[in-house]
């Protein structure tokens, strides 16, 4: 059975499909997050060295995973748009960027909240946190570049080139920051090097990661719908469905 995937590459065809999917993914996000939070904050055992404050990893780690992964997904969409010249791809990249930036910010914020009781300071130039900070800059650059062009097509294509350039650089930046950190003897306790994980901790982490996934998909789809409406407002099909 051959499905015509390109049919869904048109904003007009994708708009209703996305609309149907948003509530499902939103529901799944909640369905994963609730038991995840319960397990993480009430069931998982208290850590011997870090006490209760370690529990923020159930927010921090999924957010950090998601922030990095979303950059690659965004660059993937952008690259697809550059090669195939499909309108929807650029819109998807635009829709993902704010969510990626949000998760980066959450990872930084939760890292700082964890740092205060653990290191006694809000900010430490820990390799993971520093990389997240630079990733946030990359997201902000992408969003700023897109916002700087009045013509959405121009913005999509310029943004795509930047996202690909960033995607090639991200591993190198991570490596360089890691290298820099070991050279300068950074913090000895790392947020991600959590003590040996109990099964409940692992379960909570996975549930929260799944919740972050579902949330990202739901939000990206909802956002891409409003981008489609905004960009195609002069097209006949939008006017028809708006009843004007």
């Amino acid at each position: 059975m051959a499905i015509d995937w390109f049919r869904f590459g048109s904003p007009q065809a994708f708009f209703p499909v996305a609309g149907k999917m948003v509530p499902w993914f939103a529901f799944l996000a909640v369905a994963f997050a609730l038991p995840g939070l319960y397990l993480g904050f009430f069931v998982a055992p208290t850590d011997a060295t870090q006490g209760e404050s370690y529990r923020i990893i159930f927010i921090h780690v999924p957010a950090a995973w998601m922030s990095m992964f979303l950059y690659l997904v965004m660059a993937g969409w952008a690259g697809l748009g550059l090669v195939l010249n499909t309108r929807l791809s650029g819109m998807m990249a635009s829709a993902i960027a704010p969510t990626g930036a949000m998760f980066t910010f959450v990872a930084l914020w939760s890292g700082a909240l964890w740092g205060k009781p653990t290191w006694g300071t809000w900010w430490v130039w820990d390799a993971r946190l520093t990389s997240e900070l630079i990733l946030l800059f990359l997201y902000l650059g992408f969003i700023a570049l897109k916002a700087a062009f009045a013509d959405p097509q121009r913005a999509d294509r310029a943004g795509a080139i930047l996202a690909l350039l960033g995607a090639v650089n991200v591993p190198i930046i991570y490596f360089s920051v890691q290298w820099w950190n070991t050279l300068h003897q950074g913090a000895s306790v790392s947020l991600t090097r959590a003590p040996s994980m109990a099964a409940t901790m692992l379960a909570a982490m996975l549930l929260m990661a799944l919740a972050a996934w579902m949330y990202s998909i739901a939000v990206a789809l909802a956002r891409v719908r409003s981008i489609i409406l905004e960009r195609e407002r002069d097209m006949a099909w939008v006017r028809m469905s708006a009843g004007t």
């Binding site: 009045a150 013509d151 959405p152 097509q153 960009r231 002069d234």
Partner: protein, 203 residues
Amino acid sequence: MLEATALACERGGLRLFSDLDLALEGGSLLRVRGPNGSGKTSLLRILAGLTRPAAGSVRWRGRALDEEYGREMLFIGHAAAVSDDLTVLENLEFTVDLFQMTTNQHRNREALELFGLERVAQVPARYLSQGQRRRAALARLALSRAVPLWLLDEPFAALDSDAVERVSELAAAHLAAGGMLVLTSHQEFSIAAPATQLIELEG
């Protein structure tokens, strides 16, 4: 030689034209006409290979546009492509080298003379008037006999009647020798051509 099929152009989400076909053989003059914003410049830029058409394709000698096309085509757009800090002569010499045109110092001088630029040849282009700047850009036409396809966007804008006549003469000679010319113009002009075509774009 130059063929375009089913061209469509979109600017800022607006469709300017679609399903546009054209075919040009040696000796043909194609005039593109239409109100402001109808896509005349966009069409010329598509033919020059600068702008990607929203649909359709352009072929030269039966092949897709490539770097070789750059040697066989000449495009003069709205901007004169004259650098402020180079003299008029240096600008012309750079163009000649860039497009690997066969010429010599004597012919370069003659080209400038033809457009009344001999007195400002050694003057940095920043001191030129708007019309002189256009002339400096158009001077290369006098050295481009061997370039088969000319694409000229509003070549007569900002020119005095004398310069309009020079351009028309060069264009007529080019066409008579079997060259091709595509141009947009608001002004009326008379260029003798073995074959003439017209594309009317609607606003």
